[in-house]
Structure formats: C-alpha cells, structure tokens
C-alpha cells in the first residue's frame, strides 16, 4: 500500500461532495456526470446551459490544475487504441443504460440510501475489479 494517499483523498472527496451539494442546494439537481453529458443529447432536456457550464468547469479545472502541476497526467496504464475505444464505448453505453456512474450512483445515490444506486455501485466496482484481475493477472496486461 505504498501509493496510499489518505489525506488528499479525504480532502478531494470532500470537495466533490461540496460541489454536488452546491448544485443540489441552488439548482435542485443531482450532478451525475454521465447524466449531465447524456442529457445534452436529449430533446426532453430543458435548460441545457448550466449543464454545459458544469461540464466546461470540469474541463477548465483540469486545464488549470495541469498548468500548476503537469505531473497530474502521466500517461495511461492501457495504451492500445482498440482497448481505449472499447473501454470508452462501454463506459458511455453502460452509464446511460444503468442511469448513472460513480458520481450519481456511487456518491449521491448511496448518500440518499437508494437501493438502485447501492446495487449499481456494488456491481460496477465488482465487474471492474474482475476485469482488472483478468487483464493484469490472467492475460499479463498485454492488451
């Protein structure tokens, strides 16, 4: 566990929580990231402008933080393009099909004690762990 970073994890998690409460307190909305992105493509979504600005804020924070600490991005563990495409596709498809991702289900949903979110979170963490196990330890991370 030599990479364990408990303090930055607790502070960062608290900031994410504050950001989600801010949006709920003022706009009455749950900031599930996959829902915010997916909602932009739906004709039924009203007032898209704050959604776009929230997503722009995410990109902007990455841009600014990267100027301050370029070490935050140091390449990816998986570099083969077909795997990046497949993984990205499954993240998009699965989060829309299951109506949420790590933020909407994993954070806000569990904090609301939603049964759906608790089930979804246990399932996606488990399937991700199984996937990593298969890739890292069965196929030797050669994808």
């Amino acid at each position: 566990m030599d990479h364990f970073t408990p303090f930055s994890a607790l502070i960062g998690g608290g900031l994410i929580g504050i950001a989600m409460i801010l949006l709920f307190w003022f706009n009455g909305r749950i900031a599930g990231i996959s829902g915010l992105i997916g909602g932009l493509f739906s004709r039924n979504t009203d007032d898209k402008s704050w959604r776009i600005l929230f997503l722009a804020g995410l990109v902007l924070s990455g841009f600014i933080y990267h100027l301050y600490d370029p070490g935050i991005y140091s390449g990816m563990p998986v570099t083969s393009t077909p795997v990046l495409i497949l993984g990205g596709f499954l993240v998009g498809f699965g989060t829309r099909m299951g109506n949420g991702c790590t933020s909407g289900h994993g954070l806000f949903g569990i904090a609301r004690f939603s049964k759906r979110s608790i089930v979804a979170t246990l399932l996606f963490i488990s399937s991700a762990m199984v996937t990593v196990y298969l890739v890292q330890h069965m196929f030797g991370a050669s994808l």
Binding site: A9, L23, F26, L86, G92
Partner: protein
C-alpha cells in the same frame, strides 16, 4: 447567483476535488481496482468523505421547501432494480476496469490535451448515443 454560475462553480470544484485526490489519474484508479496487486484504497476514502458531506448536505437541503434557484428538487423516481440497471452497471464496470476512467475524470482530463483522452471521450459519446438510439427504437 444564477443557475449558470452555480453550474460553472460546481464543475470547477468537482474537478478540483478529482485532481487533488488524484482520481483523474487512471493509474490511481487501477491501483484501487487491482485487489490482487499492490492495492491502493485511496478511492474508498474519496467516496467516504464525499458520502458524508452529501448525506448531511442532502438532508439539510430537503428541510428547505425548495432549492434557492428553482421551484423543486429533481430526484429519481424509478425504484425498480431492473435488468437495465444491472446490465448497465456491469458493462460500465468492464469499461472502467479496461481504461481506468469513468465520466468525471474523462471530462477533467480533456483539460490535459492528450490524444488518448480524446479517443476515450469520443468513444464514450458514441457509447451514450448508441444506448439512446437502441432505447428509443425499443420504445417506439
């Protein structure tokens, strides 16, 4: 304060939290998901402190009649644990395990200007649109 300002501020705070906790670094995510390797439980602490803040803030918010800038709180109404939830969560997990990225960190990482992130981002959009297409065909 307008809804748009809250949106931008919320997005920046959320992204800062992801950067500080290193959750925008896929190696950090892989360290958590790889339970048989050199396990890194940091992600659990990110979730734990986020959950505590939201669990308290959510209940305080609901004591108010309505949000500051809207007429109602928008909460999910579906309570069924159906096949879409189960299959969707499992498929998302497989993708997450393959690349070490979920949607929040993908958005934040767009700010790092990497070709690889663009590939992941557009693949995610294609995945989302594919689901929308299949789902709308199924309903019509």
């Amino acid at each position: 304060m307008t809804k748009n300002m809250i949106g931008l501020l919320g997005g920046m705070l959320f992204g800062l939290g992801l950067c500080i906790s290193q959750m925008a670094d896929p190696r950090k995510i892989m360290g958590f998901l790889d339970v048989a390797g050199n396990w890194d439980p940091s992600l659990l602490l990110v979730m734990l402190s986020g959950l505590v803040v939201i669990a308290i803030g959510y209940r305080l918010a609901l004591k108010r009649e309505k949000p500051v800038l809207d007429q109602q709180y928008y909460l999910p109404t579906n309570t069924q644990i159906d096949i879409k939830l189960i299959a969707g969560a499992i498929l998302f997990g497989v993708g997450w395990g393959l690349i070490g990225y979920c949607p929040g960190p993908i958005m934040v990482s767009l700010g790092f200007f990497s070709a690889q992130i663009l590939i992941v981002f557009f693949s995610m959009l294609v995945g989302m649109l594919s689901w929308n297409y299949l789902n709308s065909r199924h309903q019509s």
